[in-house]
Every structure is written in C-alpha cells, then in structure tokens.
C-alpha cells in the first residue's frame, strides 16, 4: 500500500537526517571549540558594565581585538524535539591569548543577552522575560577563563566560569585555533544545562518540553594574537 511505502520512505529519510545531524554536530563542535576565547573579566565587572555589554573595559590585552563582523556566538535549544537556533548580535572578547603560553593566557567573553536573535519577534519577546534571560535586569552573560591548556595541534581546552542571570557554573570549553595572515579564528562548541542557570523557570522547568541541554557554539575572529 502506498501508505506503507510512504512510511518506509520516511524511515529511510529519518536515518539520512540523523546522519546529517551527526555531521552537522561535529562541525558545530569544531566551531564551538573556538568560541570560548573570551574576554577576561570577573563576574563582578560583568555586572557593573551590564548596561553596555559590548563595551569591554580596556585591559592589558587591548592589542587583541575581536572582528565582530566575522564572528558569531550562537546556541541551539530543543523544544519538543525541534532544534531552535539563536545567535547573539552583540558580544565582545577580551583576550590576552598566547598560543605558545596557554597557561599564562586569559580570555573572556561578554554577551549582550538583549541582542539574542531567534528569527521571530514572538519568541524573542518571550526570551526577554524574567523566567528566561531576564535581560532587562541582567543583560550581560560572561565567560571568564581560569585555566587554558594545550591539548593538541591548534587545540586547547579552556576551563572557565560561565555566568548567566547571575548564576555561575564551571564549563570546559574545547577550542580550535587556526590562523591566516594576521587573523586568528577561534571556534568551538560546548553544552550547558539551562536549569543550572535558571533559564526557563516555572512551568518551563519541564525539560521534556524544552530540553535542559543547550548547545553553545562560537566562532571568533581575532586580530593581534601571537602565532601558534
């Protein structure tokens, strides 16, 4: 019967999609390993400069600069199985990263949560609410490295603190670094659990509806980073 055949076709299709997803995720992971090159800033400072997240306090690493137009910080959450992608339009990096001396390096990233772009105004309006990002009150999220180590050629691992809505969690961020000319591309992806940051409370606590796991991916283009 044609119905059966259709089901069969969809089954094969599902398998194919799963395969594609695997590829996609491995790409995303590569991208994300770069993202954690952040800008070094304490959670306290992050709060103080909350009104202007993109304005990173001038620090010793001023020589290393983010090229915002060639950078991205995004996330993927799942609602009833549907991957919903978002990205932040405004973020900044403060970096004092020397690939040859990762242990002496410090990076931090500040994200303006009010700049979240999910593709439709309705969801963005919802995301600003206190139960989600509470971005009117706490517009800035930050990641601050506490230790960086080399794990392979052009591969690093950043141990750092991620603060969203005033909730801080330790995260391990894989970082891939490639260089061409005087620009450095740092990318990576990692997973966080939204409930740890109290993102989506009340009835939205139900992780069977909105998954607890949120994938964060980043691709940061920097200038002024010493050679690998």
């Amino acid at each position: 019967m044609c119905v059966v055949e259709l089901c069969h076709a969809f089954f094969i299709y599902t398998l194919a999609m799963k395969h594609l997803n695997t590829i996609y995720f491995s790409l995303a992971i590569t991208a994300a390993s770069l993202a954690s090159t952040g800008y070094a800033q304490s959670a306290g400072t992050a709060k103080a400069s909350a009104a202007k997240p993109a304005a990173v306090s001038a620090a010793p690493a001023a020589a290393q600069k983010l090229v915002l137009a060639q950078s991205s910080v995004g996330f993927v959450s799942r609602q009833m199985g549907v991957p919903v992608e978002g990205k932040f339009k405004r973020f900044d990096v403060q970096s004092n990263f020397d690939p040859k001396k990762p242990e002496a390096s410090k990076v931090s990233l500040a994200i303006d949560l009010t700049s979240a772009d999910i593709g439709n105004a309705e969801t963005e309006g919802e995301l600003k609410k206190p139960g989600w990002f509470d971005s009117a009150k706490r517009p800035q999220a930050s990641f601050v490295s506490s230790a960086i180590k080399l794990v392979g050629a052009g591969k690093f691992e950043i141990d750092g603190q991620l603060t969203i809505k005033g909730n801080t969690q330790r995260v391990l961020v894989p970082l891939s670094v490639t260089q061409s000319g005087d620009t450095t591309l740092a990318s990576g992806a990692f997973q966080i659990k939204r409930i740890d940051f109290k993102i989506g409370d009340g009835e939205w606590n139900d992780v069977s509806i909105v998954a607890n796991e949120v994938q964060v991916n980043f691709k940061l283009t920097l200038t002024g980073v010493p050679k690998l």
Binding site: V3, M17, V84, G119, T123, W204, D206, I209
Partner: protein
Amino acid sequence: MKPTQYTTTAIGLHWLLALLIVGSLGMGWYMVDLPMSVQRLKLFNWHKWAGITILVLSAARLLWRLSHPAPALPSTMPAWQRTASHVSHGMMYVLFFAIPLVGWAYSSAAGFSIVWFGVIPLPDWVPRSRELAELLKPWHGWLAYALAAVVAVHVAAALKHHWIDKDQVMARMLPWLRSHVRG
C-alpha cells in the same frame, strides 16, 4: 462504467481526514491567540504534526482516488449542482495540500523546523526569513478559513441530499445509512 460505491479505503480516508482536518482547524483557531505557555507550545507542535499527517494522507488519498474513480452522481442532479460539486471537491483537494505546505513553509521561515511526532525531522524547503514568515503567516490562516467555508458547504450539500433530495449521495460515505434510505 463508474462504480456505485466508494471503496472501504476511500471511506476510511474520508472520515480519518475529516476528523484530522476539522480538529486541526479548531486547534489552529484556538491556539493562535494564546499567550506563550507550555500548553501553547504543545498545541502548536501537535497542530504541525497533524498538518503533516493530513498532507501525507491526502497524497495517499489522491493517489487512491485517481486509481479508484468516485461513484456517479444521481442522474436527477441539475448540471449546476454537478459543476458545484466538482469545483468544491477540487478546491478541497487543492487546500488539503496548500494549507499544510504553507504552514510548513511558515514554520520553517520562522525558524522552527518541523519534527514530525517529535521524532522525524523534516527539511526546511524555504529559507529562514522574517520577511517570508510574515508574508506566509496570514495565508495559512486565509486558506484555512477558505477550507472551513468549503467544508461547511460540503456538509450542507450532503445533508441537503439526504434530507431534502432523499437520495443516496450522503449514504455513499455513510454505509450504515444505506439501508435506512433505500426504498
């Protein structure tokens, strides 16, 4: 020669789709103005799953219909009624495909891919775009209202055949009515 009756498959698909379509129309009408909540999110996803199911079953139904002609209309029916019947059935078939497809495209454009029954990820066949989403959104609703109107005419015509004309037209889709009417 046209058959005198619909096949059991055709009758089954008609009622299954009638249930899904009326349910989806009602669900869509109810859910659009709800404030954001878990319930709303669930309804939207169920609506999308139902919509894709309607699309798939309608494809199966169309193939079935093309290979199994509908029974002939009573010879007593005036020509304009025959034409009206063919036009309204044609419109319904077009809308069975158009409404889910526009809804699917709108969902993709708005950044929400459809994962059928939460298990089968469907491709986005239009790009993700706010402008496109805004353009498609009202069309999904307008076409749904158009379908609701044609369905209302369809139901009214069937009842008219049964109660006023007292012919077998409605009974073709309700086999248990046949014995009642016959004679």
